[in-house]
């Protein structure tokens, strides 16, 4: 038996490809996915900006108005535009994915994806309008 074994030969040598660091450039789908994930970075930076506002608020009125004024600096406006774009992109892509994550079934009826999409956008619009309304009422 051992003899037999020694005569057996295998050429098996599976080639294992290593994933490239640039896999996300391989196709459009991956790239768009990574942009979606990267929007989180911009949101984080914006949170830090808001936090710095809170800090300056605690430091008194002068610091607070300095902070407010700094927001209208062209660089700050540019930054906020980028953040806005990132957040909108994030919302669009996640709203699209949501019907896949949550299937609403009532009896045998399944809520169509379109209806869920519309519902989400309506919800966002109403909330935004309410918040804006509140802010304006507060300011007045």
């Amino acid at each position: 038996m051992t003899e037999n074994h020694e005569h057996k030969q295998t050429f098996r040598k599976p080639y294992q490809h290593k994933q490239s660091r640039w896999w996300w450039l391989q196709n459009r789908f991956f790239t768009l996915y990574l942009i979606r994930e990267a929007t989180a970075v911009w949101v984080l930076l914006y949170c830090l900006l808001l936090l710095s506002g809170l800090v300056s608020l605690s430091e008194g009125e002068a610091a607070w108005s300095d902070w407010l004024n700094s927001l209208s600096h062209p660089a700050a406006v540019g930054f906020q535009m980028i953040v806005l774009t990132a957040v909108v992109y994030h919302a669009v892509t996640w709203f699209k994915l949501a019907p896949k994550i949550m299937v609403v079934r009532i009896g045998t009826w399944t809520m169509p994806e379109r209806l869920m999409l519309i519902g989400q956008w309506l919800g966002l619009l109403i909330l935004t309008a309410a918040l804006l309304g509140l802010a304006i009422a507060w300011g007045a």
Binding site: F11, R12, P14, Y15, Q16, W23, F29, Y33, K100, I101
Partner: protein, 259 residues
């Protein structure tokens, strides 16, 4: 078959080769393949093997998108060779499926994928096997309504072609990730009204290599030839996994109360 009909168009087909007994890494070989409007990529490969180069190796069986053995990277996209047609391309580049070890030429070693499928116990589990009347087929022992069937039917259409694994960067990074098809199949059994194996499967689904390794890239659902939508199955599974976790916490705190 009238392959060399003078009217036939010719396409340049580049094929990735790898011969383990001589090569240390894959390389590319070019062929000129005649084709007509109904020539599939699989038929192009068969033409190469029959007429140009008998040493080329690839897998196939059914020729009709049912056996799942002819998955290749076709111009960089995971596709079934028998379901892709030369008429849709101006040039072809065919390679073995991404993210799997290459055994030879276009043949990938999918044993890791098959093991992942086995891990999630893809069969009907009953708490009490004795209750099964083995003299009857399971569809008579446990009657199921069309509504109950519709809950999992989509996820039962998988043909184990592995295209979704070739499309998954998370599987490419970590081959221990159970991956799209296995997780979709787990979901298929968990949704089956005849099955009682959720708890046994939760062990694998809730683990690091289970649903939580998925970051919803979603390309798996895009390339699936059977519209299984594994990304949806997995991410609905995340909701279930979270509920599991919460329920566990609850029952823990409850058992604490009793003492």
């Amino acid at each position: 078959m009238n392959i060399a009909a003078p009217s036939a168009d010719i396409m340049k087909v580049t094929v990735q080769r790898y011969r383990p007994e001589q090569d240390n890494e894959p390389w590319l070989q070019h062929y000129q393949v005649p084709f007509s409007a109904d020539t599939s990529v699989l038929e192009a490969l068969q033409h190469i093997k029959d007429h140009l180069d008998p040493s080329l190796s690839f897998r196939w069986s059914c020729r009709m998108a049912i056996c799942g053995s002819c998955g290749f990277m076709i111009n960089g996209v995971p596709k079934l060779g028998c379901k892709a047609f030369l008429r849709d391309y101006s040039e072809l580049h065919i390679a073995a499926l991404d993210n799997f070890p290459i055994e030879r030429d276009l043949i990938s070693d999918i044993s890791g994928f098959v093991e992942n499928l086995e891990t999630i116990k893809p069969y009907i589990i009953r708490d009490d096997p004795q209750e099964l009347d083995t003299s009857q087929p399971i569809n008579q022992a446990f009657i199921q309504t069309p509504a109950e069937l519709s809950l999992y039917q989509q996820f039962s259409q998988c043909i184990n072609c592995g295209l979704c694994y070739a499309a998954c960067p998370q599987f490419g990074r970590n081959p221990d990730f159970l991956g799209p098809a296995a997780l979709a199949l787990a979901s298929r059994y968990n949704r089956d009204s005849r099955d009682q194996g959720q708890e046994q499967r939760a062990l694998f689904l809730n683990a690091e290599e289970g649903v939580w390794s998925c970051t919803f890239v979603g390309y798996c659902s895009e390339v699936c030839p059977k519209q299984v939508d594994p990304a949806a199955a997995i991410n609905q599974g995340k909701a279930a996994s979270t509920t599991d976790y919460m329920l566990n916490l609850l029952s823990l705190s409850k058992s604490g109360e009793k003492e």
